[in-house]
C-alpha cells in the first residue's frame, strides 16, 4: 500500500470511530431535553436541541469521512487507538460546551469548554456563573458529563456496542485504563458500568433519604441525591449550588458522600475482585495499601498541624472540615465544605502543603480518580526497597521481587521506570503550572494549590479559578486537566502522530 493511501486510511479510521463516539455521547442529550420538558424549561430544552443537532451532524459527517476506511476492514493499531481516545475527548468537549454557552451562564465559549473539560476529567472546577439558578436540564447535563467522564467515554461506547469491535482494547487503553476484568474488553466495559450503576442506585437512595430528613422536598432531594452521587462516585466535585456540599449543613450527608467518593476512587478491578468473593484483596492490594497509608498519614498530619493553629474548636469540627477536605483532595473529588479563601487564610502553609501532596498522589489507577495514582506510588516505593535489598544482598543471589495487584505480579525494572516517568510528567507540569500562576501574580502557595488541583483532577479551589483569571491560565488548565486524565501517554502519542504526519508531508513536498 502506498504511503499516501495508508495515511488516508489512518485518518479515515480515526474519523470513523470518533464520529461513532460523538454520535453516541451526543445522543445522551436526550436526557437533559426530557428533564427540561418535565420541569417546563423551554429555553434550556431548545439549547439542547440545537446542541444535539449540531453534534449529530458532526458525528454523521465524521462517520461518512471514515466509512471507506472502515469498510476496507483495516486494523486499529495502537497509534490509532491512542489518537481516537485523545481526539474524541477534544471534539466532545467543544460539542458538549454548546448548551453551556447558550444558557448564558458562562462569559465566553472558553469558559464553557473549561467547565466541560472539568466535568469530563472529573476535576470539578467551575467557571459557570450563578449555579444556584441553573436550569434542571443544564444541571442534569453537568453531572451526567462528570459521571460519564469518570467511567470514560470510550468505556461507555464499548458498553453500548452490540458486538465487539476490532482494536477496542487499544482505544480503552488510550483512555487511561488498562485493567481487564474479564478477557474481552467489551465485557470489561460492561462490568465497569455495572459496578457504577449498582452504586448509583444505592448511593442515590441513601442521599435521597437523608436529603428529605434535612428538609428538602422529595423531588429536590432526589435530584440533589442524584447529582451529589454522580459527583462523588466519579470523584468529580460538581454540586448544584455555589456553596458546594456546605449547602446541606449535614454531617450525615457529608459522611455518606465521603464513603461514596472513597469507594469511587478505588480500582474497578478491586471492586470486581471483591464482588467475586476475593475479600482479602482489599488488604493485599498494593494500591489500597498505598491509598490507606498515604491518606491516613495525611489526615493525621493535617489534624496535628491545624490543631496547633487552633483553627477548629473541637474534634467534630476537625473531622468535618479537615478529614473531609483531605480525603476529598486525596480521592481527587474536590467537594469542599469550607470557603475557598479559608484554605489560604486559615490552613497555613503546612495544611496547604499536605493538600498539594495528596492532590498530586490521587486515587487508584483504572478508577474514576485522577493524580499520579497510588499504584505508581506503591510500585516506585517497592522498587526503592527492592534496590536497597539488592545492594545489601550477596552478588550471587537472584531473587524475583513481586507485588500484589489483583494477582501476584513480578516487579520489573521497566514497570518501575514507566511509573516513575508518569510521576515525573505530573511533577514537571506541576512546576510549569505553578510558575505560570506566580507569573500572573498569585502567591506561590495559591498557585501551587490550584495547579495541583488541576493536574490531579481534584477541583478544590483556593480562589484562583474565577472567570476573570487570565485566558492563558484557563487554556493551560484545560490542557492540564486533559493531560492528567488521559495520563499523558495518549496525548503525547497524538502529538507525536500529528507531528510525524506533518514532518513526512513537509519532506515529501520538499522532495518534489
Amino acid at each position: 500500500m502506498s504511503k499516501l493511501k495508508r495515511k488516508t486510511y489512518s485518518i479515515g479510521l480515526i474519523s470513523y470511530y470518533i464520529g461513532y463516539i460523538v454520535l453516541l455521547v451526543a445522543s445522551l442529550m436526550i436526557i437533559p431535553i426530557i428533564t427540561s420538558i418535565l420541569f417546563l424549561e423551554w429555553n434550556p430544552m431548545l439549547d439542547f436541541i440545537i446542541s444535539g443537532a449540531i453534534s449529530l451532524i458532526i458525528g454523521v459527517l465524521l462517520i461518512m469521512i471514515g466509512m471507506s476506511a472502515k469498510e476496507s476492514k483495516s486494523n486499529v493499531q495502537w497509534k490509532h487507538g491512542f489518537a481516537i481516545a485523545a481526539l474524541s475527548w477534544i471534539v466532545l468537549t467543544v460539542l458538549c460546551a454548546i448548551p453551556y454557552r447558550l444558557s448564558g451562564h458562562t462569559f465566553s465559549f472558553l469558559d464553557a469548554c473549561f467547565d466541560v473539560m472539568s466535568g469530563f476529567t472529573t476535576t470539578g472546577l467551575v467557571l459557570t456563573q450563578d449555579l444556584d439558578h441553573l436550569s434542571n436540564g443544564l444541571n442534569m447535563w453537568r453531572h451526567m458529563l462528570t459521571f460519564i467522564g469518570g467511567q470514560g467515554m470510550v468505556v461507555l461506547v464499548l458498553t453500548l456496542l452490540a458486538k465487539q469491535i476490532g482494536g477496542a482494547y487499544k482505544m480503552y487503553v488510550g483512555e487511561g485504563k488498562d485493567i481487564e476484568l474479564v478477557p474481552n474488553v467489551k465485557g470489561t466495559a460492561r462490568h465497569i458500568w455495572e459496578i457504577s450503576i449498582v452504586y448509583l442506585i444505592i448511593g442515590t437512595m441513601a442521599l435521597w433519604i437523608i436529603g428529605m430528613l434535612i428538609g428538602l422536598n422529595p423531588i429536590s432531594a432526589f435530584l440533589h441525591a442524584l447529582y451529589i452521587f454522580e459527583s462523588s462516585w466519579s470523584t468529580g466535585g460538581f454540586a448544584p449550588n455555589t456553596q458546594n456540599i456546605m449547602y446541606y449543613h449535614s454531617v450525615l450527608y457529608e459522611t455518606v458522600a465521603m464513603a461514596i467518593f472513597i469507594l469511587g476512587s478505588l480500582n474497578f478491578g478491586l471492586h470486581y475482585a471483591i464482588w467475586q468473593g476475593k475479600r482479602k484483596e482489599i488488604v493485599k492490594n498494593i494500591e489500597t495499601q498505598s491509598f490507606f497509608a498515604t491518606s491516613f498519614v495525611a489526615c493525621i498530619l493535617a489534624l496535628a498541624g491545624l490543631a496547633k493553629l487552633n483553627v477548629y474548636p473541637d474534634a467534630i469540627a476537625g473531622f468535618r472540615r479537615i478529614i473531609f477536605n483531605v480525603l476529598s483532595a486525596h480521592t481527587t473529588t474536590g467537594f469542599g465544605n469550607i470557603y475557598a479563601r479559608q484554605f489560604a487564610l486559615e490552613w497555613g502553609d503546612f495544611g496547604i502543603l499536605i493538600m498539594v501532596i495528596v492532590m498530586l498522589i490521587g486515587g487508584s489507577a483504572c478508577s474514576t480518580a485522577g493524580g499520579f495514582k497510588g499504584l505508581r506510588v506503591g510500585i516506585v516505593f517497592k522498587g526503592l526497597i527492592m534496590d536497597v535489598k539488592k545492594l545489601l544482598s550477596s552478588e550471587r543471589s537472584m531473587k524475583v521481587y513481586k507485588y500484589h495487584h489483583i494477582k501476584d505480579r513480578i516487579l520489573e525494572d521497566t514497570l518501575i521506570k514507566s511509573s516513575a516517568i508518569i510521576i515525573c510528567c505530573y511533577l514537571v507540569t506541576f512546576t510549569i503550572g505553578t510558575l505560570l500562576g506566580t507569573f500572573y501574580g498569585y502567591p506561590i502557595s495559591s498557585a501551587a494549590f490550584e495547579y495541583a488541583s488541576v493536574a490531579g483532577n481534584v477541583g478544590l479551589t483556593i480562589g484562583v479559578t474565577i472567570p476573570s483569571m487570565p485566558a492563558a491560565m484557563k487554556i493551560f488548565y484545560i490542557i492540564s486537566m486533559y493531560l492528567g486524565r488521559l495520563e499523558f501517554l495518549s496525548v503525547f502519542a497524538l502529538i507525536g502522530y500529528i507531528f510525524g504526519g506533518v514532518r513526512k508531508t513537509c519532506i515529501n513536498i520538499l522532495k518534489h
Binding site: E194, I197, V198, Y199, I202, T255, M258, A259, I262, L263, H271, I274, W275, Q276, G277, R279, I282, F292, F296, C299, I300, L303, A304, A307, Y312, D314, A315, G318, F319, I322, I323, L327
Partner: protein, 34 residues
C-alpha cells in the same frame, strides 16, 4: 445484570470497610483534637 450472593456480600463488605475507615479517622480526630 445478574444478582448473586457474592455480589451482595461484596457490596456490603465494601460499604462496611469504607465506614470503618471513616470511623477510624474520626477516632484519630478525637484523639488529636481533644
Amino acid at each position: 445484570m445478574e444478582i448473586s450472593k457474592n455480589k451482595i456480600m461484596g457490596i456490603v463488605f465494601e460499604l462496611i470497610a469504607a465506614t470503618l475507615y471513616i470511623g477510624l479517622l474520626f477516632v484519630a480526630a478525637v484523639m488529636i483534637m481533644r
